[in-house]
């Protein structure tokens, strides 16, 4: 039933791209294609092309007039006086659960519970061995749910994390299969101008949703920190990964 044999991806990368856009691929297959796209820009081009073509599939449906309350609610929502907060409720449930390990200066740690990620642990051996891959397709489109914006490999051999961005610009970090030794943490940062802003500690497993939206071109950094995260407002350990969220 579970078809996770990545070798089953078609040799024709263009068709694999189509299957990726449609959402037919399993997680492992999708990851394999994303890694292929790192070294083969034609895969990224194929993905864009299929995204355009397949969006036209929606035009094969007979139009159906929505109930009037849809517009009424929208109209109310976008009125300046009644404009709602930008927070989108469905994502709140994806926030990480653990309690903060320590208080942090609010000015720098303005991502709330995000800074309370339970530590992923890493040994010193990882620090010098970093490989970052940025996929050349857009951050707002993709398979049925999200678009991979970056694949992070700590040892240069396998993917440890994916950064996925949903169509509304919110990002998740997905632990693929990280092998993180003890006594240290990896902390994820972005830059607000020249100021580092923590996005939290990389998780040992699971998927974690960032409250903060990432815009195309956003600078991403990962630093090695003591267990529990940086004791300062910015990175204190070596930067083990850096790059930009891909610009479409």
């Amino acid at each position: 039933m579970s078809d996770t044999d990545v070798d089953l991806l078609p040799d024709d990368g263009d068709i694999a791209a189509a299957e990726y856009v449609i959402g037919l691929l399993t997680r492992d297959e999708a990851l394999a294609l994303e890694m292929r796209a790192v070294t083969d820009p034609s895969i990224a081009r194929s993905i864009r092309q299929w995204q355009g073509w397949l969006s036209d599939l929606a035009l094969t449906l007979k139009p159906v007039t929505p109930p009037p309350h849809v517009w009424q609610r929208l109209e109310t929502a976008i009125m300046p006086a009644g404009a709602p907060a930008m927070d989108l409720a469905p994502y709140e449930q994806l926030q990480p659960q653990p309690k903060p390990r320590r208080r942090r200066p609010r000015r720098q740690w303005n991502v709330g519970s995000w800074s309370s990620w339970r530590s992923g642990l890493i040994g010193a051996a990882l620090a010098a061995s970093v490989f970052g891959a940025y996929l050349g397709f857009s951050y707002w489109k993709g398979d049925s749910t999200t678009q991979v914006a970056a694949v992070i490999s700590l040892d240069g051999k396998k993917a440890d994390y994916k950064v996925e961005v949903t169509p509304d610009g919110y990002a998740s970090v997905v632990a693929v299969d990280p092998n993180l030794p003890n006594d240290a943490a990896l902390q994820f940062w972005t830059l607000d101008g020249a100021t580092p802003v923590s996005l939290g500690l990389l998780p040992p497993k699971g998927r974690f949703k960032l409250k903060r939206q990432l815009v195309p071109g956003a600078k991403l950094l990962i630093s090695k920190e003591p267990e529990g995260g940086s004791p300062a407002a910015g990175p204190t350990g070596p930067i083990v990964y850096q790059g930009n969220l891909i610009k479409g």
């Binding site: 039933m1 579970s2 078809d3 089953l8 263009d14 068709i15 189509a18 299957e19 449609i22 959402g23 037919l24 691929l25 399993t26 034609s42 081009r45 194929s46 864009r48 092309q49 995204q51 355009g52 073509w53 969006s55 036209d56 599939l57 929606a58 035009l59 094969t60 449906l61 007979k62 139009p63 159906v64 007039t65 929505p66 109930p67 309350h69 849809v70 517009w71 609610r73 929208l74 109209e75 929502a77 976008i78 009125m79 300046p80 709602p84 989108l88 469905p90 857009s138 707002w140 489109k141 049925s144 749910t145 999200t146 949903t166 169509p167 509304d168 610009g169 815009v215 195309p216 479409g248």
Partner: protein
């Protein structure tokens, strides 16, 4: 009036999105008029539930208005952008509602190439998509639509239609190759 489609209209969607990025509520109203029934059809096809579809449409359009500045025309058409958000929202709504197998009975929503009230295509590429889909046999065409609108993997699709995984993959891949050839795709 609904979206008329074609490059002119897609450019219009992009233009309206640019105005929405400046918090132009009139542009948003116009955008809504252009796309609402097309997008609701997508949400309905995915959710099979009018209430879920309406909520998904509302949430998606609010996102579109609030994040219109994120759209960039060099990446794709305005239509591709808005429909991708609605599709995502609808699939997300289905997932949150705990529905396991979306996409059932999609063929009950008929193709509208014969709908005289909806002159679909003025743009050659969209006309071409209709022609190319029409050239597929019923079964592969249905599989492609179910996959795209149902968010199903190969394996889920195979279970759903009761065919072996291998043959389901083969059918879809052949269909995609035919679509690509027909669309004048690359390579």
């Amino acid at each position: 009036m609904d979206i008329g489609h074609g490059q002119t209209h897609q450019d219009e969607i992009a233009t309206l999105l640019a105005r929405c990025a400046l918090a132009d509520s009139e542009a948003f109203r116009r955008l809504y008029e252009r796309v609402n029934s097309r997008l609701y059809a997508v949400a309905l096809a995915i959710t099979k539930d009018p209430a879920l579809a309406a909520d998904a449409l509302h949430d998606a359009l609010l996102q579109i208005y609030q994040h219109a500045g994120r759209y960039r025309s060099e990446i794709g058409s305005g239509w591709t952008w808005v429909v991708s958000i609605v599709r995502y929202r609808a699939l997300d709504a289905v997932a949150r509602a705990g529905r396991e197998v979306p996409g059932v009975e999609i063929t009950e929503v008929p193709d509208n190439q014969d709908d005289p009230l909806e002159p679909i295509a003025t743009a050659s590429e969209i006309r071409q998509m209709f022609r190319c889909m029409a050239r597929l046999e019923d079964h592969p065409r249905r599989l492609v639509k179910m996959a795209y609108l149902g968010g199903m993997t190969h394996a889920e699709l195979a279970v759903h239609v009761g065919h072996p995984l291998g043959s389901t993959k083969s059918v879809i891949r052949r269909a995609l190759m035919r679509l690509r050839d027909c669309m004048g795709g690359r390579r």
